[in-house]
Symmetry: C2
Subunit: 202 residues, 2 copies
DNA sequence: AATAATATAGAACAAACGCTCGGAAAAGTC
DNA sequence: GACTTTTCCGAGCGTTTGTTCTATATTATT
């Protein structure tokens, strides 16, 4: 790993805990194991380190959404999820949730955006897109497929996705560990299943 | 309004935007309209200002929960909400939501806790209690009453409350104005009503 | 092996930081 | 009106901040 990469990784860890102003250039240098003057060989100034972190993480999240989540922006073809059933939802959600919660880069980046969002408009934008809009869009896509498959009752997919993602959002933001969140997520998926699974009209 | 109160109010505004380390004592003094040395007649040091804000706001929120919300910790008597029906939920929720969103003290305090939660364990605790646990407890109380009244189907009230509060939590944290959030809240309450309102077994 | 390019360290800078102090002004008490 | 208490201000304290500079190491290229 190059020094520049180590700086980014270390600074992300620090910024995500104490915020931009709570971390000094000397703090970062000490944590990396070099002197602060050496930092300036890799970044123009402190601000550039912060911006560099955001750039890297945004790029990573784009890769995630393109590869691991869905091609939900490639038209309305829901065939990717044709074989999906409600019984797969629990596992699918737990995997996604684990990524957002436990992946070291993503968990730190989420905290970074969270604590920076009111000081930095760009962070607010990314935060809203990444942890609300994109998540809801992906889930709306899945629910659309589930509706087509007759697994859940037909409703506005975006509204259903918002109902689903709301509690997820809350547990992601207020639980201290994945273990604490897991049973709550399970209960949520269970409630959701009861509420939306298709039943023949009486 | 005393100078001390003006300091607290001003510092809350600043801290909630830029965080503890992002605001200097001189910033606060300038915004209040006095010199920084005069600040030290009212507070021992910068940390005491921050702690003073938290104390004041915690006290205010306790008053709110005791007076405006519910005596939900006074036993299991749900008679306060005996007359409530599902048709009142929309209005009740919108009023509560508006308080959390628009009340200048509460909105700023929420941001303050949010941006400070990873640097200050106390803020993390208060944040979890205030915007998750207490809200869910209050709502569980209301839903308990609605179940007793046969308005919604019987389920674990805490689980139902979590389902209800999740989307609220999300919109509170990611919407930029009450006007932006209002239609989303309405849709949420509508979905919730469809999902939980009592129907005679076929 | 010589040369060029890059990374590092140490010293130093001005500016901003939290904070203290002594004296002037204001407010409250008798 | 004299006295005490509180509040304010300006100057200044030592420290930390972000950043620059120069000399020395390390690495890459020829």
């Amino acid at each position: 790993m190059t020094t520049k990469e180590r700086i980014v990784e270390t600074a992300l860890e620090l910024f995500s805990q104490r915020g931009y102003d709570g971390v000094s250039v000397r703090d970062i240098a000490r944590a990396v194991g070099i002197r602060e003057s050496s930092l300036y060989n890799h970044f123009e100034n402190k601000r550039a380190i912060f911006d560099g972190i955001v750039d890297v993480c945004v790029r990573q999240s784009e890769v995630y959404f393109r590869e691991s989540a869905l091609p939900f922006d490639q038209g309305d073809d829901t065939s990717v999820y044709r074989g999906i059933g409600l019984e797969h939802l629990q596992e699918l959600i737990e995997r996604t949730f684990r990524f957002f919660f436990d992946d070291p880069w993503n968990a730190r980046f989420r905290r970074l955006l969270l604590v920076s969002q009111y000081a930095e408009p760009r962070c607010r934008d990314i935060y809203q897109q990444l942890y609300r809009d994109k998540c809801i869009a992906v889930q709306a896509y899945i629910f659309s497929a589930l509706m087509d498959a007759g697994e859940i009752r037909r409703e506005d997919p975006l509204a259903v996705a918002a109902e689903f993602h709301g509690p997820m959002f809350m547990w992601i933001h207020t639980c201290d560990s994945f273990e604490e969140a897991r049973p709550l997520i399970r209960e949520h998926v269970e409630q959701f299943r009861k509420n939306y699974e298709w039943r023949p009209t009486p």
